[in-house]
């Protein structure tokens, strides 16, 4: 459904962030995107959602296809209308607006009132806690509730692909677990998810497939279950001592994904 072909991105014409990334997200699947800070995960999401120009970044190579059509020149508005919505890192809710107004803002591209009402009811059944606080200021919600609102706001556009940037950031372990279950639930209703996470354990537990990005390249791509077994991943993301983490990171960075791994669908 979404296909990145050899995508390269630079910021301010000089700083490379992605150096030829190919990746595929089929319909109704959760794909996890792992990697250290600065690996290019957020850049990849921006490239898809059209937010690169705001950060003075540009696609300098490759192309991005959505249902077979190129979308890498389109405006963020158009991309949302086509069915891709991004939840930014750090929640970024409109904190002076009420919960309801935040959700309305999420549906701004939707013209059909019936569709808005359907999306609204879906969000309210997914997040009962938001229903209780509909008219309170969003800035007064707890961190976990704000993350739910951010996801709910994105769902108001009824996307077919949801881009999630670090939804577990700064949340307590039980809340991370809830967010994980919510992602699974959203996916069960037919929405594909591209999940960027530092918390590899959580991400791989909900994802069907995973990619590992290092310094702008895909170094590993495999079904999530296999990634969980992969020794380097285990050593780097799931703890162990600092020296071993560094060694594992070095080995990860040296790896280039094989052609078979990059094109797992075909």
């Amino acid at each position: 459904m979404l296909e990145l072909q050899d995508v390269a991105v630079t910021y301010q014409n000089v700083i490379p962030a992605l150096r030829g990334v190919s990746l595929e997200i089929p319909e109704k699947v959760v794909v996890a995107l792992l990697g250290t800070n600065g690996a290019g995960k957020t850049t990849l999401l921006r490239a898809v959602s059209g937010l690169l120009p705001l950060h003075r970044g540009a696609l300098v190579g490759g192309r991005i296809l959505w249902a077979g059509e190129r979308i890498d020149r389109l405006s963020p508005t158009r991309i949302v209308q086509l069915g891709i919505t991004q939840v930014l890192e750090g929640r970024r809710i409109f904190d002076d607006l009420t919960v309801d107004e935040n959700l309305q803002a999420g549906a701004i591209t939707v013209r059909n009132p019936a569709a808005i009402r359907r999306a609204y009811d879906r969000v309210m059944s997914l997040f009962p806690v938001l229903a209780e606080r509909r008219s309170s200021r969003a800035g007064y919600l707890s961190g976990g509730e704000q993350q739910m609102l951010a996801i709910g706001r994105a769902l108001m556009a009824s996307p077919r692909l949801l881009l999630l940037d670090e939804p577990s950031l700064g949340l307590a372990p039980f809340m991370v677990q809830r967010i994980r279950n919510i992602i699974a639930e959203i996916n069960a209703e037919g929405t594909a998810v591209l999940l960027v996470e530092q918390n590899a354990q959580m991400a791989l537990s909900v994802a069907h497939y995973g990619y590992v990005l290092e310094t702008g390249r895909v170094v590993l791509a495999a079904p999530a279950a296999r990634l969980l077994q992969e020794e380097n991943i285990r050593q780097f993301y799931l703890g162990l001592r600092e020296g071993e983490r560094q060694l594992a990171l070095g080995r990860l960075r040296q790896r280039r994904a094989s052609a078979a791994e990059r094109r797992w669908l075909s």
């Binding site: 508005t77 939840v87 409109f94 002076d96 607006l97 701004i108």
Partner: protein, 299 residues
Amino acid sequence: MAYFLQLVFAGAAQGCIYALIGLGFSIIFKASQVINFAQGELLLVGTYVVASAVLNWHLPFLLALPLGLLVTIVIGLLFERLVLRRMIGRPPFTVLMITIGLDIILRTLVIVGWGSRTIPAATPFAITSGFNVAGVHLGSSDLWTLGVTVVLCAALYYFFRHTRYGLAMRATALDQEAALAMGIDVRNVYALAWGLAAAITTLGGVLLAIDSLAIDPNFGNAALVAFPAIILGGLDSVSGAVVGGVIIGLTSVLTAGYESRLPAVVGTGLHEVTPYLIMILILMIRPYGLFGSRKVERV
């Protein structure tokens, strides 16, 4: 007592004009974090167009006014489209300097087009029209100023609270990237802000011109007087601009009315200083203005 009420009435009317001009500043600032220093010159062009339409082309005032609004809206939109749109994501300071450039260009165009002489302002009323209530003279132009401001504020309130575009503007003001990610077309929001601000400011200028009877190329400096109003109201607050405007109007008119009774040392120019004194006083207690948000950066 009648004298005091008379001053309050005049002060409120004057405050409404500051409020309208201030609304222009704060709508643009809220949408794009830019202080538009060309605001006064937009107002200048607008009032000159209205005056010319009435005095030279003999249009009725009610046709001349929309014409003046249209001209400034078009200038605002063109400026946004041709210049500011390329500046999205650049530091606010750059954009601020560009608005100063626009200010100079517009003022020069007015001098080239109309000359630097003082010309009479367009007015739909005779100076003395109005009526008396309990010894207070309620002038037509002041009554209209008050009425127009109240109606406009109500309309703006409805617009910001209950329409899609109003919501889009508020969301963009809070977090531009998040608004973009929701599919809000931020370029349209900027265009809307500039069009709206240009129209409201021009309206304020035309009402001010009716009051002062004549205009010259320095008429745009009126925007500078509205400046303490928006600073004390809170730069990024639309309701703050209105409240700030009325406070400044009342202060300046009341001081002007009573300063002759003060000791001679104080002099007769006190009313030009008091708005700024009030501004400084309020900023000492609330550095971000009466209704401003704390996050606003100091300029």
